[in-house]
Amino acid sequence: MNKPQIRVSQIATWMILFEIGSTTLLLQGAKAKQDAWISMLLGAAGGAALLLMYLWMYRRDPGRNLFQLLRAYFGKILGSAAGFAFVLYFSYESSRNLRDLGELTVMTLLDRTPMQVTLLLFLSVCAYVAWKGPQAAILLNTALVPSLLTSYVLLAVFIWASGLVHFEFLFPILENGWKPVVQAAFPEIVSFPFGQLVLFLVFFSLAQNGKNMTGAMLGTYVFIALFLTFLNQINFLVMGPVLAVNNTFPLWHVVQLVRFARPMRMEPLFSLVLFNGLGTKMAAFMIGALLGLENLTGVSRKMWVLPVSAAIFGMAFISPNLTHHLWLGRKSATWIWPWFQIAIPLLLFLVMLIRSKPKPAAAGTE
């Protein structure tokens, strides 16, 4: 039967959930305090520049995904090496999401279940989605996005209706000048969450008809950037800069404060919303790694599911505790991830500018 088509709008939808992913779980721009929204916007602007670069590369050679681009422009050996590095990077990102999720589960829903068990369960769900492939993940997303966006909007309404929002927490603006604001934005916010869109270089080429890719992606990106800035700022507006910065999962605690007529807590439901975001992101990274391995080795994606899952599961336990995990995240966001999100893509971008487009030698590989 005819192969299902992947549309540009579906990839854009995927980006929404991917970007929301784990971003709402943690506080962004802690250094900037109540000016986090400025940092977020700055970071988003930086991310937009990166996205434009990725989109340019896609436009230049729409038939190739990231791994094929690397091999085509860097040559076989260098390109493969870079490709494997990306596979490792994607797997690690995936494992970080898994760990986030494990910590969240232990703290909120299942405090007595060993984290290994919840991680294994969740990993198997994501592995199943990844085994089904990008098409399945995209359709799953399309089905989930409406309810998740609605949940976030409802959440904002509830928070506002409970009288928790204090606009005075916005002020004073730029209390400590521009320096902390800019420091918070670069490179941390750029690399998490916005720079992670480098993953979509793997997925852009899946679209059947990518003519309006740039417009769709940029439009969605602006929406996401504003949406995330808004959600992130809720933490500050409710708890104030001091409490928000010192909270592990701030938005989750904000949800705890929501009150209806009678005491009735809804944060377990919010955990589910967070899980969905985390899972989407994790599955997306996993699919990226799997597609990479398929491209690099020629062995079917499905064969790699088990080894990659095992690697992700192992990497999720790199950190002995949550504090170390978060510290490691912040460190790698500053020192390691920019290599994958900025340096290598920039290099690729330059090579693509200079070198002419190689003939599509392996046109039938996909």
């Binding site: 039967m1 005819n2 299902p4 088509q5 549309r7 709008s9 579906q10 589960t105 829903l109 299942l110 279940t113 919840t118 369960l121 969740f122 769900v125 199943y128 989605v129 089904k132 098409q135 399945a136 359709l139 799953l140 997303n141 399309t142 089905a143 989930l144 009678r262 005491p263 009735m264 807590r265 809804m266 377990p268 439901l269 955990s271 589910l272 899980f275 969905n276 899972g279």
Partner: protein, 534 residues
């Protein structure tokens, strides 16, 4: 995937690819031709049918030990007695004209053809053709000394008439349902769709049952690719028997290992006609009132034909209620288990206190309690279907009083659990399609188990793979979860809501091929819509 398939084959779980085996024992291509000797043919017939008592051979013009010149062969009970008597009368009158053995065989045949009062006549050349003709309810006329014969279709026999469908009832709408008789079913469809575009394609499936299976579709509306796919899948069926359309459904569905039905069935001609008009194909099987509809999407199972007969606002409300019931039927017990066992903080305090007070006396954990009650209900339900009608009231007394009220009073289960289980059960019956309701029941047990072990986390762990499975399912190439994923904005108006007909001018996008508009906009102005398409 190759080795996997081989394993399935060896386990007998998957049919081997169709081989050149003969379809029916009688229809071997080497079947002897009907030659001139009537005596010989009749003796072969008697051997093949093993002297079966319902085979009737009537002869004319025999004298003494010589067998007759003219004979009529049919199976008692397969023919219409009234038509048959007309036939015998005509043959009796014509017999003297045929007595002369010197008449050429062509003119004998001509004479017979001219005197037979039946509408549908066809020539038979071989034994196999003779057998299949009489098995289908024809009477065969054979003349000694003339090769070949003539079969006159006089089908009959006792069959149920058109009655109100029992499993899919409506308050407003036509009350006629399909019957077991294929010819009646086809006419029911034809009467609703008076267009030359309505096509019926007949084939025979089942080596022993030789069941007639008809693909019905409207030319120009059904995607030719889908039609071709249905044809190939039907032709690939190689089995002894087709006794109900369920056999066909299982043979041609897209995925065997899925709890979700990808083919719909209906007992209602109006539902079938509406489906054909949306560009679906219907598969009618002789001997069952259940007609298969394909390709279908997930949401089709939540639409009733009545939605389109009632006012749109009422129908929209009913749709929303059905969707709500779907979630209740699938999730309520597991949510109850998860919340009472793991997340008590989600409940308002007063409710929590009252629940805790109820559960104080019950000996079992919520999961076991829910399982016990659910299984009890399933047993009652099954008993209700299987038992003789006369003892129906007994079940309701035992079910409602003994298992419900008494169980609570005895402190075995909590009152809240009884409410949850009964509401779930009733919500399940709101879903119009029984096969979808059954799948949801199946999934419910899985989710209950997960909720009992991992709470809300478990429910999420359970629902996401199910959703993934559903969105990747396809029914004859059409994505199962359209129009939600992939999103089709235009089709959403007939999904959760049913907007007024005025606003539904185009056909659902997933199915139509040509002829997009069903109102205005050309296409069906003037002559019959499918007529000109050829």
């Amino acid at each position: 995937m190759k080795p996997f398939q081989r394993i399935l084959q060896t386990l007998g779980l998957r049919r081997p690819t169709p081989t050149g085996r003969s379809r029916a024992p009688a229809s071997a291509s080497s079947s002897p031709a009907l030659n001139a000797s009537l005596q010989e043919t009749l003796s072969r017939l008697q051997t093949s049918f093993g002297q079966s008592s319902d085979i009737v051979v009537r002869q004319w013009g025999g004298s003494g030990d010589m067998s007759g010149r003219l004979s009529l062969i049919y199976i008692e009970g397969m023919v219409n007695p009234k038509l048959l008597s007309n036939l015998t009368k005509a043959l009796s009158e014509a017999e003297p004209r045929l007595a002369d053995r010197s008449i050429a065989s062509e003119s004998v045949e001509e004479t017979i053809q001219s005197v037979l009062p039946a509408g549908h006549l066809h020539r038979i050349e071989t034994d196999a053709q003779l057998y299949s003709a009489i098995l289908e309810g024809s009477a065969a006329v054979l003349v000694d000394g003339v090769p070949g014969g003539i079969a006159a279709a006089v089908p009959g026999g006792e069959r149920r008439g058109v009655e109100e469908p029992t499993s899919q009832t409506v308050v407003r709408g036509p009350k006629e349902g399909f019957t077991e008789e294929l010819a009646i079913n086809l006419s029911l469809l034809r009467r609703k769709l008076r267009t030359p575009g309505l096509r019926f394609e007949r084939r025979k499936i089942g080596r022993y049952t030789q069941t007639s299976v008809v693909i019905a579709y409207i030319d120009g509306l059904l995607d030719p690719q889908i039609l071709e796919e249905i044809r190939t899948r039907l032709d690939a069926i190689d089995t002894d028997s087709i006794l109900e359309s369920g056999y066909i459904e299982e043979f041609i569905q897209d995925r065997t290992w899925s709890p979700f039905p990808t083919i719909m069935n209906t007992e209602r001609p109006d539902t079938a006609a509406a489906a054909l008009l949306e560009g679906l194909a219907a598969i009618l099987v002789d001997g069952t009132p259940f007609v298969l509809l394909a390709p279908v999407t997930f949401f089709k199972f939540f639409q009733a034909s009545e939605d389109y007969y009632q006012r749109y606002d009422i129908s929209s409300l009913l749709r929303v209620i059905r969707l709500f019931s779907f979630f209740v039927g699938m999730l309520l017990p597991s949510l109850y288990i998860a919340v009472t066992t793991f997340h008590q903080e989600m409940l308002p305090t007063t409710l929590l206190v009252s629940l805790a007070a109820q559960r104080e006396g019950t000996p079992l954990p919520a999961l076991i309690e829910a399982f016990l009650m659910e299984i009890t209900f399933e047993v009652i339900r099954e008993a209700g279907v299987r038992m003789p009608r006369a003892i129906g009231p007994a079940i309701s007394i035992v079910g409602a009083l003994v298992l419900g009220q008494a169980a609570v009073q005895a402190g075995l289960v909590s009152g809240a659990m009884v409410i949850v289980v009964s509401f779930t059960a009733i919500a399940n019956f709101v879903i119009p399609a029984l096969n979808m309701a059954a799948s949801i029941r199946l999934i419910r047990f899985l989710l209950m188990l997960l909720a009992g072990t991992f709470g809300l986390f478990g429910i999420l762990i359970g629902t996401i793979p199910i959703l993934t499975h559903v969105v990747t399912l396809r029914s004859f190439g059409v994505p199962y979860f359209t129009p939600l994923a992939p999103l089709e904005w235009n089709n959403l108006k007939d999904l959760f809501l049913r907007v007024p007909w005025r606003l539904m001018k185009s056909r659902p996008e997933a199915f139509y091929q040509q002829n997009e508009w069903r109102q205005g906009q050309g296409g069906n102005s003037g002559s019959h819509p499918g007529g000109g398409a050829g």
